[in-house]
């Protein structure tokens, strides 16, 4: 019988415990399902909006009540702000992946500012479009429900992103683990998708 020489490093590698199973990240998976629920909620509301609008137009009734003007300036600004915020939050994820913490903080800060700006602009839009809930029409109920729910969800996204930003400031996210930032980005992108749909279905087509 002959002894075989095994280098010490190889022994160590062979004796090392098995690598943990690669599983999808918990927070990302949970956020993805929550996003699915949220998207379905908006799909239902926007579906109802389009159905009612179509029925009104088919029957020859004006969909937007007389005297109401829904301007495009604010929705357009909100759209571009949200599209920009999609870029900045992805920038934050990429910066965390590269361990560039300064850029991550900057990008997260910009994202939150964009979000707060959109909420502010949305509230201002309510004051200028003069759509009165006291009008006996389905239009104000649907428009305020859909856009209000979106602003509420966006506020949730701002809080989520802000929380992840604080965690990043605490040094929790590095190139090895940036699950929270990716989850916040996923939730944020979903808000942008919802707004793009609202922008076209409500503000553009009216």
């Amino acid at each position: 019988m002959t002894a075989t020489h095994v280098p010490p490093t190889e022994v160590a590698i062979n004796d090392a415990p098995e690598a943990p199973v690669a599983r999808p990240r918990v927070l990302m998976v949970g956020t993805a399902f929550a996003v699915a629920a949220m998207l379905m909620s908006f799909a239902a509301l926007i579906g109802i909006y389009l159905t009612e609008r179509s029925a009104a137009i088919y029957s020859g009734t004006a969909w937007i009540p007389d005297g109401v003007v829904i301007p495009l300036n604010q929705p357009n600004v909100m759209l571009f702000a949200l599209l920009s915020s999609s870029v900045t939050i992805q920038w934050a994820v990429d910066a965390a992946r590269r361990d560039d913490r300064q850029q991550a903080y900057l990008a997260l800060g910009l994202t939150v500012v964009f979000g707060l700006g959109v909420i502010n602009m949305g509230a201002y839009l309510y004051t200028v479009m003069g759509l009165d809930m006291a009008v006996a029409s389905l239009t104000p109920v649907l428009i305020y429900t859909i856009t209000g729910a979106h602003l509420f969800a966006l506020a949730g996204a701002v809080v989520f992103t802000g929380l992840m930003a604080f965690r990043a400031l605490g040094g929790q996210y590095t190139s090895r683990q940036y699950d929270g930032l990716s989850a916040a980005a996923l939730f944020w992108h979903a808000q942008v998708i919802v707004f793009v749909t609202i922008w076209y279905a409500i503000y553009i087509t009216k």
């Binding site: 199973v21 599983r23 399902f33 629920a37 109802i48 159905t51 305020y144």
Partner: protein, 553 residues
């Protein structure tokens, strides 16, 4: 190699002596440990206990609703109470009973089945339970102070009812997200998705569909709430339109979405008691997934899309829904043929649940066929009965029968789950004789509460049936009462057994039935905090059979 590499202790030993963490923090015990617990077994037990208690109430309300059909409808409840009892009964069956019962079983059992030490987001799961419970209380309170949906005179109470419904939907969404995330992201090593136990697989399918369905329902409720609170003279806020906007949740096909876990429970219960590996595992997994895909019905909303339930795609979907159930029954038959099935209560309850569900899906098919005129009760029935006229305006008696049957099937499936996994939920098995008695109680109650209403649905086509309406409504009410008793018979021994175990009574072995195949039967009865030690990778869907065969699990 053993499948676990560290030992576990039982709940009883943990409870006997409050544990101190290295930081000196003393774990709460007694009621504090229940109210503040993020442990998935505790949260699951709470869901199951409260949902079964609500189940007693829900079936009692359904029975009272059936009594409205007798005479002029105001004899028992009075006309003012009839419609609130009807809507609360229907909502309770789904949102306070069926979904939380199955979600509770899943919260307690799924992490054990997939070899996880906890449910994903344990604090969110606990928060979801308490939100559900508070919202359930708010809904019942709102109804008690004249805030019923569609008929409440007190606007603020009614708004509370809508807020409670949104709270219920969101809580159940969060609870579902925790369970499905556990299946996707916390499975132990070696457990590929096709090795996941049947109940966990069914919860993955169900949870994914529940979050979407309940998301749509929450949107519907929000729209009505905004219309009622802020709107002026619009159709969404009108009292007679409120219930029709929400009724789709308790009618086919959406109601079958909530039945998906019943398939998983039945498959696990039957397979466990055969002692053999499931020879048609792929077919069973496919059947559960196909049933889920075909049961999605959040898009079938007749209020917004008149006649939606008669569209060919919906009728076809209802018809196809039968096929996965037949495939599943075939798979379970193959397992019984391959092994030596034992006649214990869990597999019998599981099979009865599947048969009831099969009957419910079969009965849902004719409803879509417009020429049968099942969507409205016979004129002679509602001419002198205002209560029935109001209740049937959005949900005709035929569908009360289908919902009753589906809810009964879920009750039987829930009983199968509770009896099968009692060693994990309670710490020891419940009496098998009582379980077999439950088969009779629940089976009889299910048929009695549904078949008379289904028969009555044909009254517009068969005029003689209307003459027997009082007897048929009375029989359905009696069936609902039997189901209420059945729900009580499920929860009472469970609570008694748990209290006995906490008081130091006997507990079972980890593999309490002696024929366990999946990982939950490796954990203690009841499982310790943290469930398992470190698990070795599993090599098949039945790791305990691998161990018994002498191989690596």
């Amino acid at each position: 190699m053993a499948i676990t590499e560290t030992s576990t202790t039982t709940d009883a030993s943990v409870a006997a002596e409050p544990a101190a963490s290295p930081s000196g923090f003393v774990e709460p015990s007694g009621l504090g440990a229940v109210l503040g617990s993020g442990d998935h077994k505790t949260v699951g037990r709470l869901y199951i206990g409260f949902s079964l208690a609500f189940g007693v109430v829900a079936f009692a309300l359904a029975g009272l609703s059936d009594l409205q059909g007798i005479g002029d409808g105001g004899t028992i409840l009075g006309l003012n109470s009839a419609f609130p009892v009807f809507t609360l009964g229907q909502l309770s069956l789904v949102l306070l009973f069926a979904i939380p019962l199955l979600l509770g079983l899943a919260t307690a059992i799924v992490p054990l089945q997939v070899g996880a030490n906890t449910v994903a987001f344990p604090r969110a799961a606990a928060g979801a339970f308490w939100t559900w419970l508070v919202s359930a209380g708010a809904l019942i309170s709102a109804y008690a102070i004249d805030g019923a949906i569609g008929s409440g005179a007190n606007e603020e109470s009614q708004q509370l009812a809508f807020l409670a419904l949104i709270g219920l939907a969101l809580a159940l969404v969060v609870g579902s997200v925790c369970v499905v995330t556990t299946v996707v992201a916390l499975r132990t090593g070696g457990m590929a998705l096709d090795r996941v136990p049947f109940f966990s697989w069914s919860m993955l399918v169900a949870g994914g569909l529940w979050v979407m369905t309940l998301g749509v329902f929450a949107a519907n409720v929000l729209l009505v709430l905004i219309a009622v609170k802020y709107g002026t003279d619009n159709k969404y806020a009108a009292a007679f339109n409120q219930w029709p906007q929400l009724a789709w949740l308790v009618t086919p096909p959406a109601v079958f979405t909530f039945a998906i876990p019943a398939l998983g429970i039945a498959a696990d219960a039957v397979t466990t008691f055969t002692g053999a590996r499931q020879p048609r595992r792929g077919a069973v997994l496919f059947a559960i997934a196909a049933f889920g895909a075909l049961s999605f019905g959040a898009y079938v909303q007749p209020f917004f899309n008149i006649g939606a339930q008669h569209q060919w795609i919906v009728v076809g979907q209802s018809a196809l829904l039968v096929l996965p159930l037949l495939l599943l029954l075939g798979g379970l038959g193959a397992a019984m043929k391959a092994g030596k099935p034992k006649l214990a209560s869990p597999p019998i309850l599981g099979l009865v649940a599947l048969l009831l569900l099969l009957l419910a899906t079969l009965l849902a098919i004719p409803f879509g066929i417009q020429s049968l005129q099942l969507e409205a009760p016979a004129d002679s029935l509602i001419a002198t009965n205002q209560a029935l006229r109001e209740a049937a305006s959005a949900t005709p008696p035929y569908l009360w029968g289908v919902l009753g049957l589906a809810a009964s099937a879920l009750t039987v499936a829930g009983a199968a789950g509770v009896y099968l996994w009692a060693p994990k939920l309670v710490g020891r098995r419940l009496g098998d004789g009582l379980g077999k008695l439950l088969v009779l109680i629940l089976g009889a109650g299910a048929l009695l509460t549904s078949v008379p209403l289904v028969v009555l649905g044909f009254a517009p086509k068969a005029s003689g049936l209307a003459d027997s309406a009082d007897a048929l409504f009375g029989a359905a009410a009696a069936g609902a009462a039997v189901m209420a008793v059945g729900a009580f018979v499920i929860v009472a021994p469970m609570v008694a057994g748990r209290l006995a175990v906490i008081a130091g009574g006997r507990t079972d072995e980890p593999d309490a039935w002696g024929s366990g195949q999946t990982l939950e039967w490796l954990a203690g009865s009841p499982p310790a905090t943290g469930n398992f030690g470190t698990l070795a990778p599993v090599a098949s869907p039945e790791p305990l059979l691998d161990l018994a065969d002498g191989g690596d699990a």
